[in-house]
Symmetry: C2
Subunit: 552 residues, 2 copies
């Protein structure tokens, strides 16, 4: 059987555009003699649709999309992800389904059994898990159709307090009773920088365990903060990868199922370095955020520091330098080199910029508050005023010209609350908010590996917020390589402070940092959406209470 | 059997304080000859603990709390809500459990079967549902112990696209096979202004359907944005309410189970008016937010308008007027009466205030931006600058003196995006963000029913943001009574725009408002936590994508 694999970038709720893509590819597949074409999970509505799934009108549009697509399936079978209706009176109203359609008819609707409800996933919020598992015969081949998590009955774990078997059954084990000849998995599996390892492992293990070839079709593209990397693939029944589709791009390929086991095994090394993957993911994330919300132009504050330099470079790649504008907003505490470094960066990237000094606004603010404030007290208040004036100026520019503001905070800062709420925490999207400071440095090096876009001085000077004379970030925190490691153990690996200390970190450092993370929930609650590139990003994937005693 | 009902206010993660409360009440119950004492759902850790449940240290503390409580159960049985461990290798790591402890031992651990995973609830994120249901014999009485949702197998629905039976089985139906003599339900059931009707209906229906008396023990108090109203009760086997504990307060009562069916039926009318309930809930919500985060003093901007007046009055009730400070920040567009009305309000409430005019900061901001902006364009940019200067001044005051800023936006504004991000959307807590404008008026009337705290003029003038000359809110939107009704149908009742129009609203109004709601997700994403008083509050109970085509 000749199968077309359609790896598409879908836009949540844009049924017209999603349906058009699907229909065009069905035509193309037919023209080239395919008997089956496979689209990804929830393809017609895009993933993740969130509470749009609770709107009757949304579901009706999804049903209509399937009915529109149907009309184009004469002489071909298509597997299309879409919400399915639970017609029983019991259970959630919907299923997460794979529609098997052919010759103008819905031949079968297969429902997802294992519903990921952890981290960023909330599938049990919307869907009833399926308890039936049946094989579908397509062109004489018995196909085990599974939906993403259905193959993840056994999960890799890297945390002390987690289960490898989150579910009580394995759909593939049940399906094996019906003697399938091939596994098809339609997915919406998001990128994180170690996800591809886990995913390969899962797919290879399933193929070899059940001794069946496997076709895996993933979504590509970003919706808000979630980035899908594509990377659809074909695995032979020995668990070897024989075909892999593009990463971070739409792709379309054919595979002849009868020869999968004879195909050349391609040694798909993970040739991408970790940081190149992150770079490409972020560029896609920024680009799709703008394209899908209808924005064209971006704006950001350029401080001369490394965070804003990296965001500027990413934005220029994603949107074109002609669509990126910088504001340099020096204060009395800014060093000369800050302005020079920022100007040099903008010139090298080819983006426009303006200089708007904040001194007079800062003075008039202090004057206005003088009758209310005690005399001669310079503290965090005045530091924050500077950050908030900058935030206000950026938003004013954004309002006047329609540029969307990009946030420039990194994950280390967001973790310990070293950002000013309504100041440098502002923005429509955070592009490096899931990167620890050391990863920001690595990304800067990567960006510069082609050409020195980011000035030498920006990378090599001591980080400073420049909100008071001679301030340096390391004044109040351990150096970044220590800070980042402690944060990683506590946040990603969910190690207790006790365990982190036992790894050899200083007790006082660990206790201070953990305390800062815990008391900063209120700041992160109001943070912009953060492009997710790790397995535990701040935002909806990490839900901690603001009001709580963090009792360690 | 004499049963003590302990309706407590728990603090999430504060094991010490929660355990102390529980131990003290066990002693009190013993002293008064009770054989059984019942605490609410997840009592030892507080509800909702969110992702703290994924921290091993947190679970160890919960286990330790149970072991500490154990030691005080000589001669008495206690039912205490706490996380239970799933020792099987399959399924989620935890259960949501009721520990039955007596004489220093854990006699039985009952696990919750139905896990609410909708609106603000994410229980399947953490817990494995129980499939076993067994009756526990306590002092010779067979008790059906159920946990909150376990009795909600049949749900009231008021939306077009919902199921009344969200689950495939009813724990009580299974428990009936073991001939229980009484139902006990431990709960963490949050307040919303129509929840008590639904809850009574559910409890009465369960008691009468199974012909069993029912003891219902709820949590009271607020954790972040979720308010629990208590209102624990005893229902006889005919479904009549015979005892009801206090609302919005801790309470402790005894009931003799053998006489429940002979007790006087108290006609517990819902004597509270809807608006009095909301008032009391919000006062509790503000008070607990401050107490549990360790803040004492509040701050808010006083505009002379009704929203800030109502928040000021609520804050004074919750925290004492001596702990509430107002900033009046008139601009060149502010009318005289705004300042006068705000001053009058502060004086009547007995709170302190300062006046900090924003004119000079506004001028210096415009001057700083003049080289960058086109000449003579006053638009939304300049309106927002004023709101953001005020936001900055409030945060500066908050930083300097440690007062937590209260947000003053209402639900109608938050819905249509009529607030300035990083301006009047600022705050640590939104206290009236779940109240439509018409409810804010009703609350003002209620507050004034005792004494005219809120000036006549504040209530009776036309609402205006006063960000440009002669601005009125109704300039760009239909009047509030229309706006609010459309919003209610779209947000709470999830009616499609088509259906809202068919109810008789103007098509152009409905389409404009629905569009505004949908394009404002990015603003609400960065909004402070909102005290929840409706069945569909903005925040984690309503999760819509920012990047999506809302295709109506």
């Amino acid at each position: 059987m000749k199968v077309a694999i359609a790896q598409n970038n879908y836009h949540v709720g844009n049924f017209e555009s999603n349906t058009n893509k699907i229909v065009l590819q069905i035509k193309r597949a037919k023209e080239q003699g395919a008997q089956l074409i496979v689209f990804s999970e929830l393809a017609v509505c895009g993933y993740p649709p969130l509470d749009l799934l609770e709107q009757q009108g949304f579901i009706e549009k999804a049903e209509k999309a399937i009915n529109d697509i149907l009309l184009h399936t004469t002489g071909i079978t298509a597997i299309v992800g879409a919400p399915g209706i639970n017609n029983s009176e019991e259970g959630k109203k919907l299923y997460n389904s794979a529609y098997v359609i052919a010759n103008g008819e819905i031949r079968k609707v297969i429902h997802k059994s294992l519903l990921p409800t952890y981290d960023i996933f909330d599938e049990y919020r919307y869907f009833e898990p399926s308890e039936d598992n049946e094989v579908v015969e397509i062109e004489g081949t018995k196909v085990a159709i599974t939906i993403c998590e259905d193959l993840w009955d056994e999960q890799p774990i890297d945390q002390p307090f987690a289960q490898s078997r989150l579910y009580k059954h394995a759909p593939m084990r049940k399906l094996m009773a019906h003697s399938p000849e091939i596994i098809i998995n339609i997915a919406a599996s998001p990128f994180s920088h170690n996800q591809e390892y886990k995913r390969r492992d899962i797919l290879r293990r399933n193929a070899s365990t059940y001794n069946l070839p496997l076709i895996y079709v993933n979504q590509v593209g970003a919706n808000t903060n979630i980035i899908f990397d594509g990377n659809s693939k074909v695995v032979n029944s020995r668990g070897e990868i024989v075909t892999q589709l593009k990463r971070f791009e739409e792709d379309f390929q054919f595979v002849e199922t009868s020869v999968i086991n004879q195909m050349k095994i391609t040694d798909f090394n993970l040739d991408d370095t970790n940081i190149r993957q992150i770079h490409n993911a972020l560029v896609l994330g920024i680009s799709d955020y703008f394209t899908k919300t209808g924005f064209k132009k971006a704006l950001l504050g350029l401080s001369g520091g490394i965070d804003s330099a990296v965001v500027a470079a990413l934005a220029c790649r994603a949107l074109g330098a002609e669509n990126v504008h910088g504001l340099l907003m020096p204060s009395e505490f800014s060093s000369d080199h800050s302005v020079n470094d920022a100007e040099l960066l903008a010139q090298r990237l080819g983006m426009t910029y303006d200089i708007v000094p904040i001194k007079d606004i800062y003075t008039s603010t202090n004057n206005a508050l003088a009758p209310v404030f005690p005399e001669n007290t310079f503290d965090i208040t005045e530091e924050n005023i500077q950050a908030r004036i900058r935030g206000m100026l950026l938003m004013a520019y954004s309002n006047k010209y329609g540029n969307m503001l990009l946030n420039t905070s990194n994950k280390s800062e967001a973790a310990v609350g070293y950002s000013t709420l309504y100041g440098d925490s502002n923005g429509g999207l955070s592009s490096i908010g899931d990167l620890y400071k050391k990863q920001v440095y690595a990304l800067a090096e990567f960006i510069n590996s082609e050409k020195e876009f980011i000035p030498y001085n920006t990378i090599n000077k001591e980080p400073s917020a420049e909100l008071r004379p001679d301030q340096q970030d390391s004044d109040s925190l351990p150096p970044y390589y220590v800070l980042d490691s402690i944060l990683f153990e506590y946040i990603e690996r969910k190690q207790s402070p006790k365990e982190v200390i036992s790894m050899g970190f200083k007790r006082s450092d660990v206790e201070k940092i953990v305390r800062l993370v815990n008391i900063s929930e209120h700041k992160r609650y109001q943070f912009p959406p953060i492009l997710r590139v790790s397995s535990k990003s701040f935002g909806e994937g990490r839900r901690f209470p603001i009001v709580a005693k963090y009792d360690f």
